[in-house]
């Protein structure tokens, strides 16, 4: 079961590559313009899947702080609660990012020492601010924010593509690329 699970863990990456290839194939080989755009959509979601997989950690939860978490290390917080909470969120983001640094460096062979250094730094940093928030508990929120943008960009591209498709249909009466090229070649 563990073997299967480990395959399943990296399965995301395999699937993203497969989906990308499917999308790329459609982009290049399909004749129908709408099909091309569908391929493009698949291609882009595959990349987003890849990014989300980067941000995902085993057993991590959504990067939202609950009130008790935010207040854990700040019993003496008075009127500055809101500010502190804000600070914590920011801090959590920072932690998450640093976590990735650490992971990244762990991957790099022969640089463990350096990575350890970094870890201890993170820990000490942790200790004197808010011991309750651990970056490894959360998925990396930065990636998510970026992907929101990417999704919107993808849909915008799709929209423009479809608009051009409609324009082409208006001009040539077809949405098949080969037919349009034929019409251009035979002289408008």
């Amino acid at each position: 079961m563990e073997l299967l699970q480990s395959i399943a863990d990296s399965f995301n990456y395999w699937i993203y590559i497969i989906l990308m290839m499917i999308g790329l194939y459609a982009l290049v080989a399909k004749n129908n313009l709408v099909k091309k755009l569908i391929g493009m959509s698949i291609f882009q979601t595959a990349i987003i899947l890849f990014y989300v997989s980067i941000g995902y950690k085993d057993g991590a939860t959504i990067p939202i702080l609950y009130e008790h978490q935010a207040h854990h290390g700040h019993h003496d917080a008075g009127h500055g609660d809101a500010e502190d909470a804000h600070h914590d969120v920011e801090h959590a983001v920072e932690e998450a990012a640093k976590e990735i640094h650490a992971v990244a460096e762990d991957h790099a062979d022969g640089h463990d020492a350096h990575a350890d250094d970094h870890d201890t730094l993170v820990d000490s940093h942790d200790a004197h601010t808010s011991s309750a928030i651990h970056a490894e508990d959360f998925a990396n929120p930065l990636v998510h924010v970026l992907m929101l943008t990417a999704i919107v960009v993808g849909v915008a591209t799709l929209g423009v593509g479809l608009a051009i498709t409609q324009k082409l249909y208006g001009e040539f009466g077809s949405i098949e690329e080969s037919e349009i090229i034929e019409q251009i070649r035979t002289g408008k």
């Binding site: 882009q44 890849f50 920072e94 591209t157 082409l168």
Partner: protein, 505 residues
């Protein structure tokens, strides 16, 4: 005020794009002046930024006060300041030029046009000044989406070309995004300077992930800049798009992509990785040689004026890719210089092609017939652009080629030097063919017509708004040529941080 200049470069065109879109619903006539004002302001801001960079060194402008690894940062050094100035100036000139053309070609869509135009410019400026790899992707897409729309405003064939561009552009941008993703896996940062620092301190250069990231980013950017085997989308796009659309895109889009390539290779991965660890130079330089020759020969085969010029762009892209991979300081200086000079010379000849089209309604090169008599001033502008593309001193094109050839000799890449010279010669053939047509006419009369004298030639120049940008561009080309030393010192200041192989000096 001046320390806020970096953000104003971007903010003016972007906000005005929104305003133009709204105001344009009711008062179409306001679009043009608004565009001009905002671009003028943007030019001022970018010039002031350049001055600051030259004086105080690179500027790091934190957007919204978030510190670098998390917030978006504008990082402006000599390179980006120079390219930003180029972009904004080209945009301003094209905007002036747009007045008559847009009214003539797309009369009912003028406010949409200006709005898209401004968005395109802000996208390009954003690419240039951002210091964040993901932000760059977003700006890339902003610029790309607007350019698809701008191209599709053209005739029937333009729509298909725009669609193909959309497909290729998306593939390119997605490759770039993927590459950035891989970088992020390894480094956990999206800030360009930060990535470089982590790559170096953590010694990640041997990791295959970084290699994949590098390949994906390079190939993605190559697609977007129409580097030779990946160029197929470009000629039809720029040849059939509305005049002003191609006038803004032809000089800028590919050039900004070259900027991205330079930025990625030098700032993000570092020349040490790109040139020494990977050791690809020879392959890429050969690819560039093929691109240069293919572009030049492709241009020879064209009868359509603008299409011919688009093939020249492909050759010029080859110049710059090759120049970068010479891995020599002089060569890279040449590449960066060529970004600027090529932007202006491409602009110059495209503006001219636009005037010819507006005056004669014909696209092929024979439309030039008798132009020397009909519009001498326009031809003067064209001549400067053509001479610059050929590389005749003292135009800007000569000096950028000078540095490129020098870099080629320095690094011993003789094939590149030869390709550059051959392409210069082909350019000479191309442009003197045009000049000949303009001078003699299509069918030269046997014997000479004595009374066809100079005293009563019908002069019908293009309108002022079209002529002014053309002549200003020509003037800029010469000024850049004459002041190239100052420009190069800015570029070399920028390059000095990288410890590149230098020439004997």
């Amino acid at each position: 005020m001046t320390e806020q200049a970096p953000i104003f470069i971007l903010l003016f065109p972007f906000l005005t794009a929104v305003i133009v879109a709204l105001v344009g619903l009711r008062h179409k006539s306001l679009s043009w002046p608004l565009t001009l004002v905002s671009l003028g302001a943007s030019v001022c801001a970018s010039l002031s930024t350049l001055a600051q960079v030259v004086e105080h060194g690179p500027i790091r402008y934190k957007l919204g006060g978030w510190s670098p690894p998390f917030g978006i940062e504008f990082h402006i050094d000599g390179l980006s300041a120079l390219v930003a100035v180029t972009v904004s100036v080209v945009a301003l000139l094209t905007a002036i030029y747009s007045k008559d053309n847009v009214d003539a070609e797309t009369p009912d869509k003028s406010s949409q046009y200006y709005s898209l135009f401004l968005l395109l410019v802000s996208g390009l400026l954003g690419i240039v000044i951002t210091g964040d790899a993901f932000n760059l992707y977003v700006m890339l897409e902003v610029a790309a989406l607007t350019s698809y729309a701008l191209i599709a405003m053209g005739n029937k064939r333009a729509s298909l070309a725009a669609f193909k561009y959309l497909i290729m552009g998306t593939i390119g941008a997605s490759f770039y995004l993927l590459g950035v993703g891989y970088l992020y896996i390894k480094t956990g940062s999206l800030n360009m300077l930060d990535i470089r620092e982590i790559l170096e301190t953590a010694g990640l250069f041997n990791s295959p992930t970084i290699l994949v990231a590098f390949i994906l980013i390079t190939v993605g950017v190559w697609i977007k800049m129409a580097f030779f085997p990946l160029h197929s989308w470009l000629p039809n796009c720029y040849a059939f798009a509305p005049t002003t659309s191609s006038n803004i895109m032809a000089p800028l889009v590919t050039k900004v992509m070259i900027y991205v390539m330079v930025r990625m290779v030098l700032t993000v991965f570092g020349p040490n990785y790109a040139f020494e660890i990977l050791d690809w130079e020879n392959i890429v330089v050969w690819l560039a040689v093929i691109a240069i020759l293919a572009g030049s020969i492709g241009a020879l085969a064209q009868k359509d004026l603008r299409k011919m010029l688009t093939f020249l762009i492909i050759a010029e892209v080859g110049y710059m890719v090759g120049g970068l991979w010479l891995a020599d300081e002089t060569g890279i200086t040449g590449t960066i210089f060529h970004i600027i000079s090529d932007a202006f010379m491409t602009l110059c000849v495209f503006l001219f092609a636009g005037i010819v089209f507006a005056k004669t309604g014909a696209r092929d090169i024979y439309a030039l017939e008798g132009m020397f008599k009909k519009m001498p001033l326009t031809m003067v502008g064209f001549l400067v652009g053509a001479f610059s593309l050929i590389g005749i001193p003292p135009t800007a094109g000569f000096f950028s080629k000078w540095y490129l050839v020098q870099g080629g000799i320095n690094s011993g890449n003789w094939e590149y030097v030869v390709a550059l010279l051959i392409s210069s010669l082909i350019n000479a053939v191309l442009f003197f063919r045009l000049i000949e047509i303009a001078y003699f006419g299509k069918k030269p009369a046997e014997g000479h017509d004595h009374h066809h004298g100079d005293d009563h030639a019908k002069v019908s120049e293009a309108s002022f708004t079209m002529l002014l940008p053309l002549l200003s561009t020509a003037a800029i080309l010469i000024v850049i040529g004459l002041y190239n030393k100052e420009l190069v010192s800015v570029i070399q200041d920028f390059l000095s941080q990288f410890n590149l192989a230098t020439s004997i000096r």
